[in-house]
């Protein structure tokens, strides 16, 4: 509240309230303007130009957008990114839910387990990707050591050498890295449900699955929506794990859409084209998020 005012600076209570509110949101507005709105406008502007890293830039209208439909790798990358998203989301969710259920009640030492499950979230994705590259290595990696010692494989495996195994181990690494975050979101949802509901359901003779489908899941709708949206956005925008673990290989089979944008902008120096792809991706994400919010809306 504004307690002291200069003389002659008379504001009504309502005006003061409004001003206070405005001052409170100003930092956010400024932040969003500088780091989102302005770059977004610049990106749109760039996307309408032939914009090399150095040399002359030229206005070309919608040409960058028209070129997209002829870009085979762009379509391949879209396909790959959505395939990856569809494959990686269920394990994160199911495992996240199981972990959240396991650490739900405040019993002794439960904090230790919550911490262990959450720990991978606090290291960066870049660091975790490097860590996994080492663990998956055919000569010094711990996975091959274990598999060889247990005689499960005849010789060291090149996990990142074939498209199928590559996808699987990357999903494994990402689930390990992100499941803790989903766990925390779902844990908050689980703990927001009053115990009385379960108790009365038990009195009525409801079993585990009935309670799950008629109490737990419906009441967690908002938390599920939040976790799902964050997880899907994260997967559609994935870059680090592919850039570090595979460099898009083997045989260019793991080039995600952001990876392709990065390549065009900073390897081929086609900044305008990269900007156009970014705008299209933004549109796709807005649509996807809208769809998820619609499906998971609170039904009155």
């Amino acid at each position: 509240m504004l307690t002291k005012q200069p003389a002659g600076f008379n504001l009504s209570w309502t005006q003061r309230r409004k001003l206070t509110g405005l001052l409170f949101v100003m930092p956010t507005v400024a932040f969003v303007t500088v780091f989102f709105i302005i770059p977004l406008i610049m990106t749109v502007y760039m996307s309408l130009h032939d914009w090399p890293l150095f040399g002359e830039r030229a206005y070309i209208g919608w040409e960058n957008y028209q070129e997209l439909s002829n870009d085979r790798q762009y379509l391949k990358s879209l396909d790959f990114t959505f395939r990856y998203t569809v494959l990686v989301t269920p394990p994160i969710f199911i495992l996240g839910f199981i972990l959240a259920s396991l650490v739900r009640h405040n019993i002794r030492y439960i904090g230790i387990f919550r911490t262990i499950f959450f720990l991978p979230v606090v290291i960066g994705l870049g660091v975790s990707s490097l860590l996994w590259v080492w663990m998956l290595d055919d000569r010094i990696g711990v996975f091959n050591k274990i598999l060889l010692d247990l005689n499960l494989v005849p010789k060291a495996q090149l996990f990142l050498g074939r498209p199928n195994t590559t996808m699987n181990v990357i999903i494994l690494s990402v689930v390990w890295k992100t499941v803790g975050f989903t766990m925390i979101l779902l844990l908050a949802g689980l703990q927001s449900i009053p115990d009385e509901l379960y108790e009365s359901a038990e009195v009525d003779g409801a079993g585990y699955f009935r309670k799950l489908f008629y109490i737990t899941l419906p009441l967690m709708r908002r938390f599920i929506a939040l976790a799902l949206i964050l997880s899907v956005i994260g997967s559609v925008l994935s870059f680090d794990q592919f850039y570090i673990m595979t460099r898009g290989g083997p045989r260019n089979s793991t080039i995600s859409i952001v990876f392709w944008i990065f390549n065009n902008s900073f390897t081929y120096f086609k900044m305008g084209y990269g900007a156009a792809m970014s705008i299209v991706l933004l549109g796709i994400l807005v649509a996807l998020t809208g769809l998820q919010l619609y499906v998971l809306r609170e039904k009155e």
């Binding site: 780091f35 989102f36 770059p39 977004l40 610049m42 990106t43 090399p52 890293l53 150095f54 040399g55 790798q73 290595d137 055919d138 000569r139 010789k155 060291a156 090149l158 990142l160 050498g161 925008l237 870059f239 680090d240 460099r247 898009g248 290989g249 083997p250 045989r251 260019n252 080039i255 952001v258 944008i261 990065f262 390549n263 902008s265 900073f266 390897t267 081929y268 120096f269 990269g274 900007a275 970014s278």
Partner: protein, 416 residues
């Protein structure tokens, strides 16, 4: 990192650099110089210069992978460094965009102009004018393990000089044991193979680009397919460790230091590492041979240029000219195991006792570098056509398919 974040990052860096260079504009001549993070003697050069001259140079080392992006951003912001040590393959692109100062008149007056490494001189030219001169030069060659050669009954004094001789040597070494292999290549590293595999094609009289660099000759030049078949044989017969197929270059140098690899493509940059960190490694060096003989090398490294807009063009040239002097080339370059940029200086007091360094230096006599403004897209990009073609041909064994694929994607990129 999203585009937006990267863009902001670049923007921030540009602003910071702008502030820095503004602060540096004092009364005396202060120049800025950028170099990418490679182990050339640039810092030693700058220190020596600063100690003996009124004009001072402030050197900034930029991570190699980000050099061109940052240079481009700095140019766009109107604040490029005065002097830039640039990976030679990018020089045509920078010169074509009008970002480098034309130094033709000065270069022509150099008494040793015809003795400067030819690949680097060619890449430093654009439309008949000189924009850059060699500064950090390196050529590719083959290193071989003398101990393994002896154990396998091969004569280390007469290393292989054809592809068949190389294959025979690899087979003999490979037979020494389960953990011993004839060869090493990093088949998930695009740049490594431009450096060490292209010369096999060149030494046989072929190329992947036409003489005027205007079109791809992958399907029309039979040597390309033959060289791919040569490497495919190495892979099929298990003469390289299986992990070589997915090595992204992190083991490009270190694989050979294990002592269980018979031969590997290498550059001079690795020699000081081998001799200092692995004194037990008994190795020799020979030029990359063609199918039936001959020799070729990929001329790699950096050229040095003055950026357009520099306020100290003459002083910058004075520095550049000094870097090529006997004093700098022998007492800084050769003394530290770096190859001199003047061919005649391969005979110097520091290389005298070491045949390997002389051979490494002389590789640049047969050095060649593709001249194209889209080098990065064609050869260096880990997702580009060069590496994909190699992998499909060598690892999958589909040589015909790889050639068609390479020809198509090269042409697509070169036509823009």
């Amino acid at each position: 990192m999203s585009i937006r974040k990267s863009f902001l990052l670049v923007l921030t860096i540009v602003i910071c650099l702008g502030a820095l260079s503004a602060a540096a504009q004092d009364d005396e001549v202060n120049m800025t110089m950028w170099v990418r993070s490679i182990p050339f003697q640039t810092q030693a050069l700058v220190d020596q210069w600063n100690a003996n001259n009124d004009s001072q140079i402030e050197l900034t080392v930029i991570p190699s992978g980000e050099f061109v992006t940052k240079m481009g951003a700095a140019i766009a912001a109107g604040e490029p460094p005065d002097i830039a040590s640039i990976d030679l393959i990018y020089t045509p692109a920078f010169a074509a965009a009008g970002q480098l100062v034309d130094i033709t008149e000065w270069v022509r007056q150099l008494p040793y102009v015809d003795d400067l490494t030819p690949a680097h001189m060619e890449l430093g030219m654009y439309e008949g004018r000189n924009y850059a001169v060699p500064t950090g030069v390196d050529g590719s060659f083959i290193v071989y393990n003398i101990d393994l050669f002896e154990q396998a009954g091969l004569d280390p004094e007469n290393p292989p000089s054809t592809w068949d001789e190389m294959l025979e040597a690899m087979r003999a070494i490979d037979a020494l044991g389960d953990d011993i292999y004839g060869y090493w290549f990093s088949m998930a590293c695009a740049g490594c193979n431009a450096f060490t595999f292209l010369p096999f094609i060149w030494a046989s009289g072929g190329d992947v680009l036409s003489d005027d660099y205007s079109e791809a000759t992958i399907t029309t030049d039979p040597t390309v397919g033959e060289a791919l078949a040569f490497y495919n044989t190495i892979w099929e017969e298990g003469l390289v460790p299986e992990g070589a197929s997915i090595d992204n270059g992190s083991n490009f140098v270190s694989a050979f230091t294990g002592g269980n690899i018979g031969m590997a493509g290498m550059g001079n940059f690795a020699i000081p590492l081998f001799t200092n960190d692995h004194p037990d490694l008994n190795f020799g060096v020979f030029h990359i041979p063609g199918k039936e003989g001959g020799a070729a090398s990929f001329g790699g490294g950096d050229v040095i240029a003055i950026a357009s807009g520099s306020a100290h063009v003459e002083e910058a040239w004075r520095f550049i000219e000094w870097t090529m002097s006997d004093e700098a080339q022998i007492e800084i370059y050769a003394a530290n195991g770096q190859i001199p940029v003047r061919l005649a200086l391969e005979d110097n007091k520091y290389f005298e006792g070491d045949e390997r360094q002389r051979t490494a230096a002389s590789a640049l006599r047969v050095g060649h570098t593709p001249y194209t403004t889209v080098y990065n897209d064609l050869f260096n990009d880990p997702n580009g056509p060069w590496l994909e073609m190699l992998q499909v041909a060598i690892l999958d064994g589909d040589i015909e398919g790889a050639l068609d694929l390479g020809q198509e994607r090269f042409t697509q990129i070169m036509e823009g």
